[in-house]
Symmetry: none
Subunit: 217 residues, 4 copies
DNA sequence: CATGAATGAGCCTTCATTCAT
DNA sequence: AATGAATGAAGGCTCATTCAT
């Protein structure tokens, strides 16, 4: 239901089954990778609204090459976004294997924070109504949600965090926290959120503060 | 509820010393107020990147009038921002007087959330390097920081929240949480943050808070 | 049903009822006229596909001015087209008053030919599917159809041409004949068509020479 | 019906003197034919301004192949045009052999009309100043002029049409009539022209022949 | 030779900013 | 002082043409 997407990374390079055009394909693929990497860097530097020309220049290609692979500017943004979502989601298992549950969780959240922090302007773009961005939130949730969920579950099973946190909510919360960059106190803010996760963990404080529900009122 | 604040600072209106220009100045001020209000509405609707023309149209004036008062587009954005910062900061005392500490705190945070939520694109703008935006973060902290601090202090004194929260961190955290709009789960996220505030309040959990330190680093 | 359009020429200059902005308006109107004239000349020279910049340059204005008055490139083409349709239709009564029926008819058709001949590329544009061009054929027929019809009726009443010719067909025929320019033999072709009109006229000349002098001029 | 013409001139295929390249040349020729046919279809669908890429795709080749045979885009347009001119001219003798003079004439004119009608944008292209198009009008007249002339002569000899019509004029007239497509009333217009041919024919109709139907037959 | 990826000039269009009225 | 017309730089995108594979 979540992972039965096509193998990540293939989103823009439909691979012909025959092997005849493989040489050219390899070239193009390398170019696409260069492009995605350049775009990622430019987005981190100048925001996702950076001119296509700037991205093309940084990749050392002409604008035509960008448009060959990403017919709309938004497609490039989406592709970079997806590639990084994939990479970020893919980091979860390794972290889970190498660290205790709670550490793995916060390590991954920091990994995720860094990713988000390089997407200045993405929030505005996502709300721009551009149809190319429409599937992005779903992609986001479908790939990162399960990654975070497993980490959360492990941490909850270890009694380190409360068990009633919706992964998507947390994703969004941390995401928004870092959307404007990870410069100053972003890490502290994320920590604050993680503290929120701990509040009410498996062994809640005996006299646990009353107004949990009316926190909003 | 917003307009009946006393008009905030003269930040952009050079003050003529003579008294004969009083009528003119009142006129200009009314014009500026109209402009700021229009801009606020447009920003809420179309983001801070909305064309100047749209703002002028909404205010019922020509673009020239906008540029008379705000020589650069960014100045208008900054002015709107400052006006709302002032209004938001000014709301703190009233809330503190009318509600118990913890309620006052969360009510103000929601008030603040609404303000931020109408500034789509502001995060990107703040990082654009435009010098007109440079003093904004400081203005932000200088006005909202103390407002929040007093509310936090009261709540901490009442034992409702932990006492080691930096107001600026919280400001920024909630701000970022709502930068992309207050549509779906923003409130839940803010609640999560407020839960974070409560964790470790006057009656900290007796045995639970396991690896708190490894969360922060 | 046909003439109850707004006064021709006003299509792009909505006139405010008040007189306050009249001075600016007059300026803008003069500019629009310059623009339309420049566009007409450029269209005659380089076809209707000429770059907007070229038109703006010839009018001595910036491209922004063009787009201020004609939000889409196609709107400018349409405006020029309409203006000339109006002028051409308006020429019919004068010709009818000054010449015998058949001469008036062929004189007007030549007038019309010259107009069409300066619209290279228009046929292609009209078939481009651009919505801005959609109302053009109707405008064309509604304005030129009656103009030609009255001339045809007079000529038919005088027995000079057959009476079963659909003005719209003739309009289209002559129009197409001249769409590629009036350089070489366009006039002869139109004459050939006019001969077609005469064939089967009410009083077919028993011996009347094919080379009607008033057809060729 | 169109493909079974003998392949028209080698206008674009440099002829290697050796005989060993026969097979290759046959291959190339087949390729060129495919290309010309594809281009013809695309021109009919999207006009002569259609992108080279679209033509290459329709022919199932890469753009490089197009440019190998037609160094400039205009060369391809010209080649298609010439091929169809050849085919159209070649149809005249057969029609003359199978039909009475007047029928042969109007049948050929319709054949010719269909050819022209599939060349949207050609008029504009011919006036573009592109040197590749410069010899086209002459080619046109040199091939189609005689074809039409013989049909006209036969019809004139049979007393069906006047004898003073310049074939080139008629060619151009009918051509222009159909340049914008043969959709609605193009046929009526051509009929009107044919009526023009009849006017002043050897045996002018005394009173009846307004019936256009016999013009097409 | 064929292929199609890459190039980049050039087009349309938008919008911040200026300035004549 | 207000207005909005004019400006033109800048950006997205297309497509003819070239060239490495």
């Amino acid at each position: 239901m979540i992972d039965d997407e096509k193998t990540p990374g293939d989103f823009a390079v439909p691979d012909a089954p025959g092997g005849a055009t493989r040489a050219v394909r390899a070239d193009a693929k390398r170019n696409i990778d260069t492009l995605l990497e350049a775009a990622k860097e430019v987005f981190a530097t100048s925001g996702v609204d950076a001119p296509v020309r700037e991205i093309a220049a940084r990749a050392g290609v002409g604008v035509g090459t960008v448009y060959r692979h990403f017919p709309q500017r938004a497609d490039l943004v989406a592709a970079v976004f997806r590639r990084e979502v994939d990479a970020c989601a893919g980091a979860a298992p390794a972290l889970a294997a190498e660290h205790p549950p709670c550490e793995a969780l916060s390590a991954w959240l920091r990994r995720y924070s860094r990713f988000i922090a390089t997407k200045r302007g993405l929030a505005a773009a996502l709300h721009s109504g551009d149809p190319a961005f429409e599937p992005l939130p779903a992609y986001f949730r479908q790939h990162l949600g399960p990654a975070l969920e497993s980490l959360l579950d492990s941490a909850a099973a270890a009694g380190a965090v409360r068990s009633d946190v919706d992964p998507d909510d947390l994703l969004r919360a941390v995401g928004n926290l870092c959307l404007s960059g990870s410069d100053a106190g972003a890490e502290r803010m994320v920590d604050l959120l993680i503290d929120g996760l701990r509040y009410g963990a498996r062994f809640p404080a005996a006299d646990s503060p009353p107004e949990q529900s009316d926190a909003g009122g």
